[in-house]
Symmetry: none
Subunit: 216 residues, 4 copies
DNA sequence: GATGAATGAGGATTCATTCAT
DNA sequence: AATGAATGAATCCTCATTCAT
């Protein structure tokens, strides 16, 4: 999907090559930015990985900064879409709460670099992301908050703990992806493999069940 | 040497001026490294924050790299100590499990930049940290694993989920600190303030109770 | 070829589109070169002003350098023609001396960027212009010199002052055009407008009259 | 004077070396900027001429731009001083009119690159100079205007010709310096040599005498 | 211990130019 | 004739580091 639809139909190949190159640049940049952060990534690295010379990058992006913005946008865009759909879905959101986690996991499976990308921003105060994320994350927190409050586990958590619970879920979901490269280095296991992700999804489902379940 | 053993002598005796300077450099560097990562932090930034000129830094540290190592060492050292104590403590570790979280939280309260520092390493595969952390984190995982297995909640979790559970706890503990600067930007609330940390500790205690509790 | 001999054919027949484009490029380049000099002008600027993309310029000119040469040639050509005519005209050149100024002013009115263009060359030692100008300017100086010597004001000026007088006239004529953009910025008045040029021409006539007049 | 007072007295050599270097950079930059303009001058050229590496320039100036500004300021400063003195001198300015020319010539003899420097700015509309020169040149024109109007030659020139006359004098004075490198290329003679300058000053004095003299 | 000055290495960016389409 | 894409060379500038003072 990143590399353009490539809908393969023969005729009218309009500017295809350029867009493919642009997508390849985005792919390379995404990996590097998510791994090394903005400052730690050089255009030389990006160009090398794509198999281009540095100035060629400028045929597709105006600057390192705008390349970074494009990477971020491409990654966040779909998530934003899914989440905003979810936001508006229905009032009985609690019932879907388990499904949300799965949908997000499915999404991140497609773009496993995204959490690391976002985390880099997060670590530095998110100067770049804040405007973008404020409108994205804020309603989610609000929604989640209200969801928990209305759910069966409401009485289990003090009101002031609910944000912490939401944050905790966020950390567990996102953390799984962010720790992956390090975990691989440490244990040899790749947490992002299909199988590992399935396991984690199951785990998350259970976690939700336990934490949001009614206390008997 | 940079970490300044605080050579105890007369307690009122002011440390050598040089050691004070070194500590101030470490402080500044810690903040910057944890916020911007290694590549994103320049010696100019560090020097400016300390109120020195760049070459003066070299009177206290051999290189940017060794400054970074010193920051890491100073931060991680105490944690390592506490944890290794804990590792060797006794076999009835489960009983202490709740206390561990609190001790770690108390530790991180002293050095709230540490998680972000470590996370930066983590994100990039931890080339720098791996050797250091392998010996630190690995036993913890092992220990935790065995702890959970021996605990009352063992039957609740499938065997293959236990590492995920441990990781999850790690993410929740660490994530709280790493998201702090961003959360402040977003909501204005400082998650690292004494009060917020106390609340989070309470929350964690409950979390542990729920997740590790015996299922009735 | 760039200067487009205007291959005469049917006078009404529109020049080839290519030639029109070439002329538009020359126009844009002339303005930019005269304002910013060779180094300060980029092909991007030129292309933008013409409404083309950079590579298209190469359909009309071999290189930035040859474009510059073409601009220079197109500008200087006519002046050279007029002057060489004048050079050969007659021996009684003095009588025409007033007329020369007017003819030159008329010429420069058509191509007011030319003096700035030449001046840029002049400032840098004229590496590019010297060969072209040596054969152009030198005879003029010679001629002017001889003209003044033979004229009625000869006794007023010491022999060694005559070159300075000629140079002075040159500076006044050329300077009027070169200072124009700055003068406009400063005072709002455009020295190159028809009216202002007419005034300057009258002023020059008077100047010539005074400086070359017989002293009684 | 550019290279610092160097008042040679032995003691207290405070930061002498750095200022000397800075002055040498200014010297080199002045020559190059005046010859090739801002865009045509590279820091590599400057550094080479000074015998430094490029980054060293940044120990003395913040940027190419600020180096340029410093060159301009150093050059224009003294002229500004002299002229502002002159501006306020006395009401009987006409009597001094001849002397002004000589004083300006003396000044430019010290800093013969200045006119070319200024001319470069002038050619491009003087974006950089305008603010600086507006306050410098404008009063001069005003003053000169009033001077001529009050002088004995007033009736010779139409009122609207007076600014042209002032401009003409400006062009002759400045032009002599700006044409010098080209003239040397052309004729081998150096117009900036002491002797040549003396001759030009005499010529200017005569010119003033003629143009501002009473018509009999 | 602190710093001004110098510098090799490298980083982002621009520019003129080429080539295939 | 026009242009998207690619690129070698160069430009300004920053950075970590060294050294003499």
């Amino acid at each position: 999907m990143p590399t353009a639809p490539v809908t393969a139909r023969a005729p009218a190949a309009p500017r295809r090559k350029g867009q493919i190159t642009a997508a390849r640049i985005l792919d390379a940049a995404e990996e590097l930015f998510s791994e090394r952060g903005y400052a730690g990534t050089t255009l030389r690295d990006v160009a090398e990985r794509v198999g281009l010379r540095i100035p060629s990058l400028y045929n597709h992006f105006d600057s390192k900064d705008s390349l970074y913005a494009a990477v971020l946008e491409r990654g966040i865009g779909p998530v934003r879409t899914v989440l905003s759909e979810y936001m508006e879905e229905g009032r009985d959101a609690y019932r879907d709460s388990a499904r949300v986690v799965e949908r997000i996991m499915a999404l991140l499976e497609q773009r496993p670099n995204l959490p690391r990308l976002v985390l880099h921003e997060t670590l530095s105060g998110g100067q770049r992301l804040t405007p973008m994320l404020r409108e994205w994350i804020e309603p989610i927190f609000a929604r989640a908050h209200e969801m928990v409050e209305a759910g069966p586990a409401a009485h289990r958590w003090e009101k002031e703990q609910i944000p912490l619970l939401v944050l905790a879920m966020y950390h567990v979901v996102v953390g799984h992806f962010t720790i992956a490269p390090f975990y691989r280095e440490l244990s040899g296991e790749d947490l992002i493999q299909k199988q590992a992700l399935a396991r984690q999804t199951r785990f998350l489902r259970k976690l939700v069940a336990i934490l949001f379940a009614e206390e008997e």
